[in-house]
């Protein structure tokens, strides 16, 4: 498994993702600066969490225009797996790789805590190894997913909501925590699987997301 973790100015979970990929999963993981080209022959691209461009303008809006995003778009169009975590999800929405947007939480506050997620389907590249319910940490102020009525209806009809909050944690439409694109190869996920991948840190719910990806790539 060969993974590229994209580093934008202001990304701050890039090192965490690299650590989990390398030290926990034993994958080859490459930090890829946003002005460089995407490395060749990668199996997975991770857009990590953080505050790319300081969240100026709108979360993810500036990073979506970064040079690397052209390569990411082509990679996704070719069927490559892309995982956008937290700010990564916001960037994917701004880049048009996923529908909708992430607004400020309903209570206008940042939330850092563990939340329970229902895994809506377990036949995707990101969830095949997940149990029905996983607990992952969230850490965001803009995680309140919103989309137009038609888009939401399509997302639900096409079963593209993969992860759903058990409780309403931030006001997200339909309690959406993570969605995939039409091709099923791009996932945006507000909670942080990389923060729940080692028993020492309290939970391992995130490992099942990475295990799913390993299986999908091997298939």
């Amino acid at each position: 498994m060969r993974v590229a973790v994209i580093v934008f100015p202001g990304s701050n979970c890039d090192r965490d993702c690299l650590h989990v990929c390398r030290a926990v999963l034993g994958w080859e993981a490459i930090a890829c600066w946003h002005r460089e080209a995407l490395p060749s022959a990668v199996d997975l691209v991770i857009l990590p969490g953080g505050f790319s461009y300081g969240d100026y303008l709108r979360t993810g809006a500036l990073a979506a225009l970064s040079p690397i995003m052209g390569d990411v778009r082509r990679f996704a169009a070719g069927g490559g797996h892309v995982l956008g975590i937290c700010n990564g999800f916001q960037i994917l929405c701004e880049a048009g790789l996923l529908p909708g947007a992430l607004r400020i939480n309903r209570d206008l506050l940042f939330h850092c805590e563990e939340v329970a997620l229902h895994v809506e389907r377990r036949d995707t590249a990101f969830s095949s190894a997940c149990p029905e319910r996983i607990v992952l940490p969230i850490a965001h102020r803009e995680g309140n997913y919103v989309a137009g009525g038609e888009t939401l209806r399509r997302l639900e009809e096409e079963r593209r909501v993969v992860f759903r909050y058990e409780q309403d944690v931030n006001g997200a439409a339909n309690r959406i925590a993570g969605i995939i694109n039409e091709g099923g190869n791009v996932l945006g996920l507000m909670p942080h699987p990389e923060r729940a991948s080692e028993p020492l840190l309290g939970s391992t719910g995130g490992l099942s997301v990475f295990a799913s990806l390993a299986a999908a790539v091997a298939a």
Binding site: P9, G10, N12, C13, R15, D16, H19, V20, W33, G49, G50, F51, Y53, G54, D55, Y56, L109, F110, H111, C112, E113, P137, A139, R141, H192, E194, R195, S197, E198, L200, L201, G202
Partner: protein, 742 residues
């Protein structure tokens, strides 16, 4: 500004300089200072930079130790934790800016302490905040609380450094002058430690980060006739932070250092460009020559005075070899941090500043950094705390009501309302999170079996107010107890001394005694002080705050199995209290509740019970030995609210939801036993099979050890008192401060 302005006595006084200080300046320069030079001296010889009142006292602190790599005087202290790894840590105050503009005041406090750490070459891995507010229902207080918490979150979350600890206390004495103390801990490999020293005449002086603006210019008190009205209107009183630039200069600085591209480096914090150039030259015994025309500026037509004294945030000054400049600028460009050479290191011993073709300042660096006078103001013994009569039984209250009220009181209640707004998990190293235990525990990187760093910061000013010497020593001992209860060995402390005006004899008396108390406790524990900060003149309406020394401490846990939590583990485990019996209620939360509860603004009085430091050190040693021997299942420090609150917290933090049945409350006054906070004690639980070995180990160290009950069904039952359910305790404990039952 008129550079040739006559330097009048009024102008000197307006810069906060005394006539004798001015004479010393004239003597060092051999002439009258220019206005720019006067401004430079004004900030460099301010209490904040020069410690004029506190330096002789601070010298009495123990600062040596075999682990100390960098002691006081640099941007942060550094200790060696083995394996080629060092810990840099430091604490700073941002009290006055936070009182004026809580969000930006707190945010730039976080930004400033982060810079102090990464300037040393260390990657920041943790932030802690110690906040002191008035009672939550005091006027404007909720605005201040919300603003400060949002400011800390806004900066720390964005930069990606977890906020893992600290404390928050509410006291009428801080209503007019809130305190925002911020601590940062960083990790650095020994070979990457850098200092703020400008070595090597001929080396380039590089400026990177944000451009310089007119914000936060010291001398807001400065004779306004010298500045145009227009300029005054444009000047903001508090600096504005940009965490995105903070993150970029962090990464840029660490990359420059790791690649060996800088000789010395310093951030521009208080007093900005002035302080960083003078200190770097002063420490290295060299000179620096800079040209202000090259300094990036974000406002038009700034004067030399404004450029030099601006406190614009997120700016760095580095000294680099000329031959490596191209590489340096390439790193700066990559992180989009600017990067401009503004001068060079000289051998002249002077700080020389050019602007628009003129020399606007030329000062001996050493005189600026080391020439500030030291004052020994008159001091008075602090007034003895008045005795008070606490009703012998809880008046009209039973145990349950009192305990639930204390659990819901703002200082004791859960701080989840604050720390859930802080990203405390980023960097995926937080093993014990805020609210989990007495201290935060972080995984250290490195090959092999993981090791752990435990960090804590706090200090109960109510104890210091009653007895500055004993209270400050108790703050050090509590920090040590917090670390020991998680299984750590305490290694070193930093501190932030928040006091009123040292020119008040009783305040200077408090300061001296508090420093003596810290020094005594550190000697008894054999741990050094590696740095700190002094914040004086914390007053409002002519009244000083309660003396508030905050202690930050770091410790090491060598093995994962030594990490200890406060929550009960298994039903049937035996509960012990270690330490001498409670001996008084002076300064306790119960006293505040009973005496002050119905009378807002009344602070409970009463002296502290006597403290024997050697007994406290023995207690720490006993707990740690028992943890290392694998004899302790859980450990929790007895602090605010006494034994009863501690037992309740052990129930609330039990992952299995276990409760406690306390069958034995030592004889005597129930209020004293259950709610007394001193002398310090520790509650532990032990496997029944280990009970005998545990008791033997503890008593061999001469530490009092009382078996008081068993871990059992959910809830807390204390002898014949009414049982309290888990949910009752939880509900009370989760009360946000502005909804407390006062």
């Amino acid at each position: 500004m008129n550079l040739a302005a006559a330097i009048t006595p009024d102008l000197v006084a307006g810069h906060g300089l005394r006539p004798a200080e001015f004479d010393s300046i004239v003597q060092a320069l051999g002439r009258d200072p220019t206005l720019v030079e006067l401004g430079i001296y004004s900030v460099m010889w301010s209490e904040h930079c020069a410690y004029k009142h506190s330096r002789p006292l601070l010298r009495t602190l123990p600062t040596r130790g075999e682990r100390v790599v960098v002691g006081p005087g640099e941007n942060a202290g550094v200790i060696d934790i083995g394996g080629g790894l060092c810990v840099a840590f430091k604490m700073e105050s941002h009290n006055h800016p936070s009182a004026v503009e809580p969000y930006q005041g707190a945010a730039t406090g976080v930004g400033g302490i982060l810079r102090d750490i990464f300037t040393m070459g260390a990657r920041p891995i943790a932030l802690l905040d110690n906040l002191r507010f008035g009672e939550p229902d005091a006027p404007h207080m909720r605005h201040l609380i919300e603003g400060v918490v949002e400011g800390i979150a806004g900066y720390g979350n964005c930069v990606g450094v977890p906020t893992v600890g600290g404390d928050i206390m509410f006291d009428p004495g801080h209503a007019g002058n809130i305190l925002v103390n911020v601590m940062c801990v960083g990790l650095v490999r020994t070979e990457h430690i850098r200092r703020g020293q400008a070595h090597g005449p001929g080396n380039a002086v590089l400026y990177f980060g944000s451009p310089t603006g007119r914000d936060g210019i010291h001398g807001a008190t400065f004779a306004s006739g010298e500045l145009s009205e227009e300029a005054l209107e444009r000047r903001s009183a508090v600096q504005v932070g940009d965490p995105f630039m903070g993150k970029r200069i962090l990464e840029c600085t660490l990359e420059l250092i790791e690649r060996g591209l800088v000789v010395g480096i310093q951030d521009m914090g208080a007093a900005g460009l002035t302080c960083s150039t003078c200190e770097m030259a002063g420490r290295a015994g060299t000179g620096i020559e800079i040209d202000l025309d090259r300094v990036p500026q974000r406002a038009p037509a700034m004067s030399a005075y404004e450029i030099l004294l601006s406190e614009s945030q997120e700016r760095m000054l580095a000294v680099c070899e000329q031959t490596r400049l191209a590489e340096v600028l390439e790193v700066c460009e990559r992180w989009e941090c600017g990067g401009v050479v503004i001068g060079q290191v000289t051998g002249s011993g002077r700080v020389e500043v050019h602007h628009r073709g003129e020399v606007v300042a030329s000062i001996p660096a050493n005189h600026l950094t080391h020439g500030a006078p030291v004052y020994h103001p008159p001091e008075a013994a602090p007034a003895a705390p008045e005795e008070f009569d606490l009703p012998p039984v809880l008046p009209g209250e039973d145990f349950k009501t009192a305990l639930l009220a204390l659990l819901a009181s703002p200082t004791i209640a859960s701080k989840r309302w604050a720390y859930r707004r802080y990203d405390h998990m980023v960097q995926i190293a937080t093993v014990l999170r805020p609210g989990d235990a007495d201290a935060a525990v972080l995984r250290l990187p490195g090959p092999g079996e993981p090791r752990f760093l435990a960090v804590t910061s706090g200090g109960n000013h109510r104890l210091v107010a009653r007895d500055p010497r004993a209270g400050a020593a108790l703050a050090v001992l509590e920090a040590a107890r917090n670390l020991v209860c998680t299984g750590a060995q305490p290694l070193a402390i930093t501190n932030c001394l928040n006091f009123g005006s040292p020119e008040r004899p009783e305040v200077f008396g408090q300061l001296r005694r508090a420093i003596e108390g810290i020094a005594g406790a550190c000697r008894a524990l054999d741990i050094p002080v590696t740095g700190g900060n002094v914040s004086l003149y914390n007053e409002s309406g002519g009244v000083a705050i309660p003396p508030t020394p905050i202690i930050g401490m770091v410790g090491l846990i060598e093995r994962e199995e030594h990490i200890t939590r406060p929550g009960w583990r298994e039903p049937g485990d035996v509960i012990y209290v270690l330490g001498d019996p409670a001996a008084g209620l002076g300064g306790s939360e119960l006293a505040k509740y009973l005496v002050g509860g119905d009378l807002p603004g009344v602070t409970p009085r009463g002296p502290l019970p006597p403290i024997a430091i050697d007994r406290e050190v023995a207690l720490l040693d006993a707990v740690r030995s028992a943890i290392l021997a694998g004899l302790i299942r859980s450990a929790h420090d007895v602090s605010d609210g006494g034994l009863a609150v501690t037992l309740a917290e052990c129930c609330l933090l039990s992952r299995g939801g276990h409760g406690a049945w306390i069958h034995e409350t030592p004889d005597g006054d129930l209020a004293l036993t259950l709610f007394g906070e001193l002398p310090p004690r520790v509650v532990v639980s032990v496997r029944p099979a280990d009970a005998r070995a545990f008791e033997a180990l503890i008593s061999a160290r001469g530490v009092a050890c009382a078996e008081i009950g068993l871990v059992g069904l959910p809830g807390l039952r204390c002898a014949d008192q009414a049982a309290i359910s888990h949910s009752e305790m939880q509900q009370a404990h989760e009360t946000p401060p502005w909804e407390s039952l006062r």
